[in-house]
Subunit: 410 residues, 2 copies
């Protein structure tokens, strides 16, 4: 297959590009390198020393003899370039990672909220309009988030995208009153996004549903949990292929911040009571799931195919305890800068990928490697002041900085 | 109240501004005049001779002594100007009409799809972020559409925004299996937009739900039917205050195109079987509804208040027969350029406005006036070639041009 990886220089996109190239697909990376610019803006940096995209691509060719091209396109803005690219490359599929993906970054300021909405909605709409416009039958695989569901659905496992409901009807087709009777329906699972970033994924969902219906586009939307782990079989081949590891308060997910805090000898800062339950998946499983999704496309005219791309759930405080034990660190509760319920349950269906052969890497097995091979190994590259989460969801929230540490570290 | 009317130079916004000024509010009109530029782009023009915004505003002051200011702001792009405006004017409320509102225009080309999404989503997000950013407690009233519901809900009247559902649960809070039991919930009515324009109103809905939850903004979303009629008590005072009458294939709604066709002696072109049922409201009732919504705001922390703003429903073919009878014209079926079901039922709840005192102007009473005072009176200003609907929803659709007429008129 000829496949474009939009956002292929990013944390998920880069290992996906390598994996798909490795298994024999013809892969082109598209990116505007905005993520690297945001690092500069935040004064932050990947803990791991990532090479430039040019060096990454050249290294891959040197090691494997496989071609991997890089195209600089801003998917949200360079529409004509994007359409010509889809046509000229005769693409069979696109994997769409090209969005601003950090919830805290999206809440940092009015400017950040506006950038996140503008970039993500226009990127997705350009990709969809562009496929229609190109006249090609391109299968689109998009990375969504578990966060669109909203948490706390007591009493049932979160299904894969669509919810069975019943409504009570009390008239016939002509509007004449009848006895109340129940009508079963299946709907897109009602959403309850927790940040402006998550909101953009809700907007994406609606765009997908429309283009699948009106233009019969073939679309798969992967509702992904929090991705952990740094390397995959391919990125581990050479340090010049190493993947990003974000640990700063904006882009570092909860697990990476715990790993970093443990590595530099600070308490693991748990927001609120740590009662939030989150879904997780290892980066190695992410790249496999994308491959499985690509080889199992929906048919033209089908509704959007939605898979839950996660392999386990954990409460944040349990996660902290786990890492504290492995890495010999302390846990400390700090105010939650997010506007969310203190405690929530989360039960998720993920049969589709398991049935299609996914064999998950579990946290309990892989975490130690992250501690020794990544967090401790590169700990001297860390800027401690960047670890605390300081973006506030509303003016009533407080930053997640521990009382016990007077230095700006956490 | 100090009220800004965003999109106050448009078909609904202009009479709303006059009405609110007339009943004693302090009104400022905000517009980027994009609608007038689109007229130029399409080579189309309002059938009625509308004055410039400057002349409109000056005339109102001359006739009534009431001040009405105009501020040129692109709500989707001039964010800083917008925030300063909200702060400096010490606004109490904003009525948000400032969007690209024609379904056919939104489907005309990739460029139009992208403009509609970009303009409408960024306008709405800027307004919301801007209110939060300004620190003011501004009540936002937005004009949405009945079209977000999708048509054809057999068995029940469309509720006002929220749907009562039941889901079947089969576990307890801890995820242990239980006997299946039903759990009632109330959700935003599932959407099924019929065009990219309607899709943007779905995206708006999700933006509103988020900001009402996270930032406790007070938001009313009016799900409006197709607005008919040209003048209100205020716009009828002087020809320099006259409202727009769009009759072209992009912006002219079904009723206006029928009126125009009748006035120039052509058959009324009904798309498909004419079995589509649509909801309608008179422009005079629109301005009253907005006033009622402004005086009945939700409280901070409430979910978005949603009203259905329509007063009657009709099948398109019945509407054609009605106008054909009044205006002595013929009806002709043409291909439907839209991608939609040929026939649909539509039953809608609209108790909220009726309970709050709305006394609707019905089609059967008001139509004759539109025929004599508008369509016939200004018929010589019409460009017949602009009447047919030519935007196609997909490449499989055909333009709505009648077989009986060889000229480009319909
Ligand atoms: N990392 C996670 O834990 C996680 C979890 C769930 C979902 N996702 C989703 O997966 C996708 C990838 O996430 P990631 O962690 O790799 O993020 P990332 O920021 O590391 O990668 C995103 C890439 O997209 C690029 N990009 C952004 N906007 C672009 C545009 N307009 N044009 C071209 N390129 C653009 C960036 O430069 C970056 O290289 C995102 O959509 C994200 O929402 C990630
Ligand atoms: N006319 C109808 O039948 C109808 C039915 C249902 C809902 N609505 C909704 O009511 C609202 C008003 O509709 P209308 O018929 O008056 O449309 P219109 O096009 O006549 O008016 C919209 C006005 O908004 C302005 N505008 C657009 N984008 C702007 C921007 N970025 N910044 C500043 N101004 C901008 C335009 O210049 C125009 O004056 C729309 O949101 C529409 O979706 C209309």
């Amino acid at each position: 297959m000829k496949i474009a990886i939009l956002g292929g220089d990013g944390f998920c996109g880069w290992p996906t590009a390598l994996h798909l190239s490795n298994v024999g697909h013809d892969v082109v990376i598209v990116d505007n390198l905005s993520r690297r610019r945001i690092d500069e803006e935040l004064g932050a940096e990947s803990l791991t020393p990532i090479a430039s995209i040019e060096e990454r691509v050249a290294t891959w060719q040197e090691l494997t003899g496989k071609q991997l091209r890089f195209e600089s396109i801003d998917v949200a803005q360079d529409y004509d370039k994007l359409v010509n690219f889809i046509r000229d490359e005769e693409l069979d599929a696109m994997v769409h990672f090209a969005e601003q993906r950090a919830a805290p970054y999206s809440m940092k300021s009015p400017k950040n909220k506006r950038y996140t909405v503008d970039n993500n909605v226009n990127a997705t709409n350009n990709v969809l309009t562009g496929i229609v416009d190109s006249g090609r039958d391109v299968h689109l695989v998009h990375l969504g988030t578990m966060g669109v569901y909203g948490y706390g659905t007591a009493g049932m496992k979160i299904p894969e995208g669509y919810l069975d409901i019943e409504v009570t009807a009390d008239e016939d087709e002509q509007g004449n009153p009848t006895e109340p009777h129940r009508i079963p329906q299946q709907i897109l699972y009602p959403t309850n996004p927790g940040s402006v970033y998550h909101l953009t994924k809700v907007l994406d969902q609606n765009l997908f549903a429309y283009y699948a219906k009106n233009d019969k586009l073939r679309i798969t939307d992967l509702h992904q949990g929090i991705v952990w782990g740094t390397n995959t079989a391919e990125t581990a081949l050479d340090e010049r292929l190493i993947n990003r590891f974000d640990y700063d308060g904006d882009y570092g997910t909860v697990l990476n911040r715990f790993l970093m805090q443990a590595a530099v000898g600070y308490p693991l800062t748990v927001h609120g009571t740590g009662g939030q339950t989150r879904a997780f998946i290892h980066i190695q499983d992410t790249v496999r799931c994308v491959e499985i999704a690509l080889t199992n496309p929906p048919a033209a005219g089908d509704r959007v195919m939605i898979f839950n791309q996660m392999t386990e759930t954990h409460r944040v405080r349990d996660l902290a305890e786990l890492i504290a034990k492995i890495a010999d660190a302390k846990v400390e509760l700090v105010p939650n800068p997010r506007n969310e319920a203190a405690e929530n349950e989360l039960h998720v269906r993920n049969e589709t990928f398991l049935d299609l052969g996914l064999n998950p890497t579990k946290l309990a097995e892989g975490l130690l490697l992250e501690v020794t091979e990544i967090a401790r190994k590169y700990a001297d590259r860390a800027d401690h002041s960047k670890i605390p989460a300081t973006s506030l969801w509303t003016q009533n929230q407080q930053a997640g900085v521990p009382a016990s540490v007077s230095a700006p570290v956490a």
